[in-house]
Amino acid sequence: MISWAESVFSIREGWFGYRDGKTVLQDINLSLNPGTFYGLIGPNGSGKTTLLDLLASTIQPDKGTVLFRGKPLAAYRRQELARMLAFVPQDFALGFEYTVFDVVLMGRHPHIPRFSSPAAKDLDRVEEALALMDITQLRDRAVTRLSGGEKQRVIVARALAQDTQALILDEATSNLDIRHTIEIMRVVSDRVRQKGMTVIAAIHDLNLAAAFCDELVVLKAGSVVTQGAVRDVLTNPLIREVFAVDGHIRVHPETMALGIDYVFKKEADL
């Protein structure tokens, strides 16, 4: 058991509500360990994005504290934090005609002093991220002229170029075809294995979460229902309780990987 101080993120008794008085997150207790790939699952409106916003320090909790490497998030300078923590939000903008290369290079912003040009190391990281996301051939293309999936790969490449110890992904594969979805998940999970990166990713596809994540954090109506290893958390009763659908968990006979079948009746059968 790793103590609070050693965890990368910890939230204790975290509460958050918007100004209209509706509580979005209540009494969140969470501890995320280094070198682990966390999947954040839960139905729409369960507070996943808000929880990730708290972890990314985009919003501050109303009550409780969020610690990052043992220190309150609010105590970090923004730039200092940006060297350690990358965030891929759902609502990214790509408004102006920057090239793919320029946008990925923006990921190096916290590492490059003001008025300095990018160093060789920065350019290396950018090239690496372009190659990993399979967008090297698009490098000189304006980001405004990319498809939805290409844009998403650019945004993830930007976060990878940031070269941080922790990464927060909010539905980062929602626009991608299956090949690129698997590709992103594989690249991210390689970073976890090889560099000890800590990742927390909101994922809708439970099969995808089961295949790549080490642990799952399950949210329902603003509370953490459970947290733990995929095998322990993902059960038929949990899927029924949290998502209100009948799921059937199966284990692949060779790879031992978990998969979920959804059981639903067609209208004609009713």
């Binding site: 940006a82 965030f87 939000p89 990214f92 790509l94 102006f96 946008v103 923006m106 912003h109 930007r158």
Partner: protein
């Protein structure tokens, strides 16, 4: 290096525009004579005995202050427009999006209507001062209305600007109605002009435009990153709310001083950044200084055409739009065609 080359070219172009424009007018003065006068003023050396004694007066007291003022106003408005477009992530934004021009116009109309009514005002109550106060008042109102709870998002800012501007427009309308047949004075001020601009006007414009330009250049890389959206920018180490506020305030101050000095000149702040972005790309580190040069050159040219070439002076705002509008339509259309292929 490309940026060095670009800015050398733009500086030379601007200098040439200033010198050529100074030579043009009712009294034609050759560029070399203009240079001689300027150099002699700077170095303190006397001009040759044979030199026309009227030239230095025309150049130094009448033309140069007017030309330099128009350069600063043009550059200021273009830079301010570029900042508004980048911050609001909206290519339709211009220096007047937050209602700054309406505030200035209201302040100016207020003084003008009092003068029309024959109320004698103390000498410090000048039109520029009131225009500037009106602009700043508007800025404060917009900020209070937008409130920082969502880091001054584009939509709240634009909406607040529209609301404040429409109230002020009604106020201006009322003042115009009161002015009755003397409304021409107000309308003429609103259309913008550089007639009779002095060194004082030039200094006023410089005192805000120059520091503003430096502040904006300091944050120009942050401005680039903000194109990725507020959340992403914050995750890349930018104090989004604070940076937006600083940039909005400085861009608005520049707009306020420009409008106070010269009246409302449209078009420059919308089209110059737009056009240069098409040409040079969206990188604000290049775009913003280029906008300063571009805006300055455009307004010098327009003002010179109005002053020295046309048989009678046209309001400068009308002229910039008349010349620049069709030109921009052409560029815009051409680009769309290319985009479709």
């Amino acid at each position: 290096m490309r940026p060095v080359l670009l800015f050398t070219f733009l500086s030379v172009l601007l200098a040439a525009a200033v010198i050529l424009a100074t030579g043009m007018g009712f009294l034609q003065i050759s560029p070399s004579e203009v240079l001689q006068v300027i150099v002699s003023k700077i170095t303190g050396k006397a001009l040759p005995e044979t030199f026309n004694t009227v030239f230095p007066v025309v150049i130094m007291d009448i033309r140069l202050p007017r030309i330099l003022t128009s350069a600063l106003v043009g550059g200021g408005l273009a830079v301010s427009g570029a900042v508004f477009q980048a911050i609001l992530l909206n290519p339709l934004a211009d220096p007047y999006t937050l209602g700054i021009s309406s505030g200035a116009a209201f302040g100016a109309s207020l003084v003008l209507i009092l003068t029309i009514f024959g109320i004698s005002l103390p000498p410090w109550v000048s039109v520029p001062l009131f225009a500037f106060s009106g602009a700043i008042g508007t800025l404060i109102a917009v900020f209070i209305l937008a409130s920082p709870h969502d880091n001054y998002s584009s939509n709240t800012l634009i909406l607040s600007g529209v609301i404040v501007a429409s109230i002020l427009s009604a106020g201006i309308g009322f003042i115009k109605y009161l002015a009755n047949e003397k409304v021409g004075i107000i309308i003429f001020w609103l259309m913008g002009s550089f007639v009779g601009k002095s060194w004082t006007d030039m200094t006023l414009a410089l005192s805000i435009t120059l520091p503003g330009l430096f502040v904006i250049l300091y944050f120009s890389r942050d401005l680039n990153i903000m194109a990725l959206g507020a959340r992403t920018a914050a995750s890349l180490g930018i104090e989004t709310g604070k940076t937006r506020k600083i940039l909005l305030v400085w861009a608005s101050l520049i707009t306020a001083i420009c409008v106070s000095v010269s009246g409302i000149i449209g078009f420059v702040g919308l089209i110059v950044p737009h056009f240069l972005r098409l040409l040079l790309g969206p990188d604000n580190r290049i775009l913003i200084p280029a906008c300063f040069f571009g805006g300055a050159i455009l307004l010098i040219s327009a003002d010179t055409i109005s002053r020295a070439i046309l048989p009678s002076e046209l309001p400068i705002g009308v002229l910039t739009s008349l010349i620049g509008g069709p030109f921009f339509c052409y560029i815009f259309r051409k680009r769309q065609w290319r985009g479709q292929r």
